[in-house]
């Protein structure tokens, strides 16, 4: 292994080149059972307890495709405007590896379930971007090898490996992008878009830490304005969005350094070393693969008709990018606010329902991202599952916006709604919490306070402003917070003049 630590090139060098990045990622589909057999598709589990003749590739066992996985693929394809070809088939990709039970992977070669398409996504500054997709195809996952004897669990230096086939045969979609990505930031934003879309569609949990999303990146550089691509490297082993960002950034810097020194980029696979913060060459015995793809004779082709496509399309939820644009364009939310909501689909749906009845996106947003989110965090109960219905919140917003209640009372009412549920209006009415702005009514509270606190009145007369604050507090307390605080102060000053 060759490890090259790259120093950060000067800014003008960085400005000279443009990065050209394509992403390939494998995403495990969320189904009850595996792709070609009835074993559970579940993470964890004691090794080799979720296996059967099919996924262990016992002699004579045969695959039968999971209908839900195929439908998930159509959903994914439609979400990104992919073409859903009328005819599709499974092929065998032949290669030997110990965690590949059949020593071929059932995958799709020249007739995948989806073709083309585009992922629209946004950056932290609100810039909208597009990345075209080459294809999304369906295949099966491998088992998992644990490398032993090397001390650190790594393959290098290990003396033997242990294989668990629980994951073997889990449905996997492979998304291949065109090289339309131009920076590490964009790569992560693109992956975020994939992730939130798959989660929204309910077709994957996309948990990188459980390995349900794994991605590789192809990175090359070219002079800004150049049309042709430079020599690319493929980076592997990135196991979080953060490491994707760091790895791509580091590879861009490495390649920039090489080009600036007049050196050549070698087309190769490079592994990301999380601890070292660098990519390193993985070309040990780099040889061209010959996967000998051919149609899997154990399976029959798929024909997806237009009616099926339309049925699936009609059942698609609002997609994250559409929701984001609605929030930013129609509701004028900030990029951060819109992103926060879009990334929490149940909260966003809650928000939408509350806005539907309250017609005040700003008022609803205040509560949803403010006190409600705080209550949710403290209690561990999701807002959408709390006792505060979107309709109750809408009432609360309307009461606040109309200044029927002040913000202090609103907070108290929200807590009562959180604990007991019910209607905001009903609570305000039953407890007489509406703000009191009638000068006569406020005057009565003031007079009572002045009579009960002669010392404070004297202090105020002696020039102690603090005494006024105390008296306001007494009035607010007596009115259970309903008195209009500004009016209280005016009346107090007036009476003590």
């Amino acid at each position: 292994m060759i490890s090259e630590r790259s120093s950060v090139p000067p800014a003008d060098a960085a400005a000279k080149y443009e990065a050209v990045i394509g992403i390939e990622c494998h995403v495990e589909l969320k189904t009850a059972s595996k792709m070609f057999c009835g074993c559970p598709n579940a993470f964890g589990g004691e090794p080799n307890t979720q296996v059967c003749p099919v996924c262990l590739a016992l002699p004579g066992a045969l695959p039968v495709p999971n209908a839900a996985a195929i439908e998930h693929m159509i959903r994914a394809g439609l979400a990104f405007d992919c073409a859903i070809p009328a005819f599709s088939k499974f092929d065998r990709k032949n290669y030997f590896y110990p965690d590949m039970p059949k020593d071929y992977q059932i995958s799709q070669y020249d007739m995948p379930l989806t073709q083309g398409g585009v992922v629209r996504y946004w950056l932290a500054d609100g810039t909208l971007r597009e990345c075209r997709l080459t294809r999304i195809h369906l295949e099966e996952d491998t088992g998992k090898s644990t490398h032993a004897g090397s001390g650190d669990g790594r393959i290098a230096g290990s003396t033997y490996s242990l294989v668990d086939f629980n994951r073997a045969g889990v449905p996997l979609m492979e998304c291949v992008s065109d090289p339309d990505i131009r920076s590490a930031d964009e790569a992560v934003a693109f992956l975020d878009a994939l992730k939130r879309t798959f989660v929204q569609l309910g077709i994957s949990d996309v948990k990188m830490e459980e390995g349900s999303l794994r991605c590789d990146a192809n990175v090359s550089l070219r002079l800004r304005g150049a049309a042709e691509y430079g020599t690319k490297t493929e980076i592997k082993n990135m196991n979080s969005f953060r490491s994707v960002h760091r790895a791509i950034q580091s590879e861009i810097e490495r390649q920039t350094g090489l080009l600036e020194r007049g050196e050549r980029i070698i087309q190769e696979t490079r592994g990301w070393d999380e601890a070292g913060g660098v990519t390193h060459s993985m070309r040990s015995k780099e040889k061209a693969h010959d996967y000998r793809y051919f149609p899997d004779p154990d399976l029959v082709p798929m024909e997806i008709d237009a009616a099926t496509v339309e049925r699936v399309r009609a059942a698609l939820p609002e997609l994250p990018i559409a929701r984001y644009e609605r929030y930013v364009d129609a509701y004028k939310l900030s990029v951060a606010q819109a992103t926060q909501l879009v990334d929490n689909a149940s909260l966003a749906e809650y928000f939408d329902r509350a806005v539907d009845s309250a017609k005040s996106p700003a008022g609803v947003l205040n509560f949803v991202l403010g006190d409600l989110s705080r209550l949710a965090n403290e209690s561990g109960i999701e807002v959408a599952h709390s006792k505060v219905t979107p309709e109750a919140l809408a009432e609360l917003v309307a009461l606040t916006d109309a200044k029927t209640i002040n913000s202090k009372v609103a907070k108290d009412v929200l807590v009562r709604l959180w604990n007991d549920g019910g209607s905001a209006k009903a609570i305000v009415q039953a407890d007489g919490l509406a703000q009191v702005s009638d000068p006569a009514a406020v005057g009565a509270f003031v007079d009572a306070a002045l009579a009960a606190n002669p010392k404070s009145v004297a202090d105020f007369a002696a020039g102690k402003e603090n005494a006024l604050k105390f008296l306001i507090g007494q009035v607010m307390k007596a009115s259970r917070g309903t008195a209009n605080p500004a009016l209280v102060e005016t009346v107090l000053r007036d009476r003590m003049r």
Binding site: P53, L56, A57, L58, P59, G60, A61, L62, P63, V64, P65, R92, N94, F96, P98, P101, K102, D103, Y104, S161, V163, F165, A288, D290, R292, Y293, F294, P297, D298, L299, V300
Partner: protein, 498 residues
């Protein structure tokens, strides 16, 4: 003839009838078979594994079910199972060192159905390794002899099953046919061997050779028994995506006694003149017998059939090169250790596979490899279409096609050392397989080979359009009933001459 001998010569229908009527118990049959079999098979070598305990268990269950009022189509019928079909708890070797000690943890669908119909499993039969061969000589584990001449092969790859039924060591047997592996050994062993339409019988639990061609089917001493066995094993299986989801009409009740109104195609390209005067005369007689039963003989053309062998010897190896990749020493079967996984793979596969299997893996790997895929694999797939289309055209003019089942009668051991010479045995069966058609071999006479002294049986292949099993078995029954060729040969040999 003793009661036991009667058992071994009886047909499946007769046995099932007597067991269903409680004239004898399945347990008694199992016991008779258990006692007699090892000695009877000692010289013939049809079986790789005997399963007396399992047979007894099944017999007990059959007797219980019949006592409970059930009628089972194969009640108490002793059956042999080719050793490429899984039977839970039983060694399943595929005739290979690779799986010499592998115990299947599950049961193939077809085997399960046969046993559920009341059959008693005698054991697992010998075969060419991974079903690759036409003589059974490629078994890595045992030599099986032809019951009509111990110096000759039983045919292959289902040689053990054919020999067991031919030698009266089983009433019925299951075999598998990829390019002729049921029909050719049936012809060699004087029995009926039937390959159904591709997809009629589930392949789940059949250790794959070439997935798009493999099909399980029965051996029996009569067409009627073959039909009974077929009816028990056929039908849709949700565990096999290539199994046909279509209603399965029973065939055993469609048997007929004449061929009136039926057009039988004689294939212009399948002339028999080159096979020698005796064989030529035998097939001429067979066709004449069909006509005598009322069939109208029509000449049909299969101009692409001559490409069948070349097509088959690309497609089948290509599929097998991938199907047999799983024998890698990781999860089951043989392992030969190596310094690393790659070396372990290479040594394991070198030690576990025999010559013919290696040859086919190599040629198949080559046909799929980069640069050769279109010229070989895709070309063969297209030729396959052309061959299937030829059959469709031919069947517009006839209802059945008649031809030899094999190019010669059973040959002597080591007679075919050149692989291509061996492949030529399946000249008549392979095009039918490529088209997925149902076909069978029924005894049609015997000839004394030039290098032999005893008459050796010949088989007539009848092939029918897709899904026409009723028509096919019905017609074969009429021919068999009228000719009775199987009974004209002397009793088969089961022990070496003293």
């Amino acid at each position: 003839m003793s009661a036991d001998d009667l058992l071994f010569t009886s047909g499946a229908r007769a046995i099932a009838r007597s067991v269903n009527r409680r004239e004898r118990s399945a347990a008694d049959i199992a016991e008779a078979v258990r006692v007699a079999l090892p000695e009877r098979d000692r010289d013939l070598g049809a079986y790789l594994t005997l399963t007396p305990d399992l047979m007894r268990q099944h017999a007990r269950r059959v007797d219980e079910r019949i006592a409970a009022g059930e009628t089972l189509p194969l009640a108490g019928v002793p059956v042999a199972i080719k050793d490429n079909m899984c039977l839970r708890g039983t060694r399943t070797t595929c005739g290979s060192k690779m799986l010499e000690n592998w115990i299947a943890p599950y049961t193939a669908t077809a085997v399960g159905r046969l046993l559920a119909a009341g059959a008693l499993p005698i054991g697992k039969t010998n075969m060419d390794e991974f079903a690759m061969g036409s003589s059974c000589e490629n078994s890595a584990l045992r030599t099986t002899r032809n019951p009509y001449d111990f110096d000759r092969v039983p045919g292959g790859s289902s040689g053990g099953s054919a020999a067991a039924v031919g030698a009266e060591l089983a009433t019925l047997a299951l075999g598998s046919d990829t390019g002729g592996s049921i029909r050719e050994p049936a012809a060699f062993c004087n029995v009926v061997g039937f390959k159904p339409t591709y997809g009629r019988v589930s392949r789940y639990g059949l250790i794959a050779f070439a997935s798009s061609l493999d099909q399980i089917g029965p051996f029996a001493r009569t067409v009627e028994d073959a039909a009974l066995a077929y009816d028990a094993i056929a039908g849709y299986d949700p565990l096999d995506a290539t199994s046909l989801n279509a209603p399965n009409e029973p065939t055993a009740d469609a048997l007929r006694t004449d061929l009136r109104g039926m057009r039988v195609g004689i294939v212009k390209e399948f002339g028999t003149a080159d096979l020698g005067p005796a064989i030529h005369a035998a097939y001429a007689q067979a066709y004449a017998d069909l006509a005598a039963l009322g069939a109208e003989l029509v000449e049909v053309e299969l101009p692409t059939a001559k490409y069948g062998l070349a097509t088959y010897y690309l497609i089948a190896p290509a599929e097998c090169s991938s199907n047999l990749a799983r024998f890698d020493g990781v999860r089951y079967g043989l392992r030969v250790d190596g310094a690393d996984v790659g070396e372990m793979y290479e040594k394991t596969r070198a030690a576990g596979f025999g010559d013919e299997v290696k040859r086919r893996i190599l040629i198949g790997t080559y046909a799929l490899s980069s640069g050769y895929y279109d010229a070989y694999y895709v070309k063969a797939q297209k030729a396959r279409t052309a061959i299937a289309d030829d059959f469709k055209r031919a069947f517009a003019r006839c209802d059945l096609i008649a031809s030899p089942a094999a190019s010669t009668p059973a040959f002597t051991f080591n007679a075919k050392s050149d692989p291509v010479a061996m492949y030529l045995m399946d000249y008549y069966t392979i095009p039918v397989s490529l088209a997925g058609l149902p076909a069978l071999s029924v005894p049609c006479g015997a000839v004394v080979p030039e290098d032999g002294t005893r008459p050796m049986p010949l088989g007539l292949q009848l092939a029918a359009p897709l899904f026409s099993e009723r028509l096919l078995l019905g017609a074969a029954h009429a021919y068999e009933r009228a000719t009775q060729h199987a009974l004209k040969l002397p009793r088969p040999q089961i022990a070496k001459a003293p």
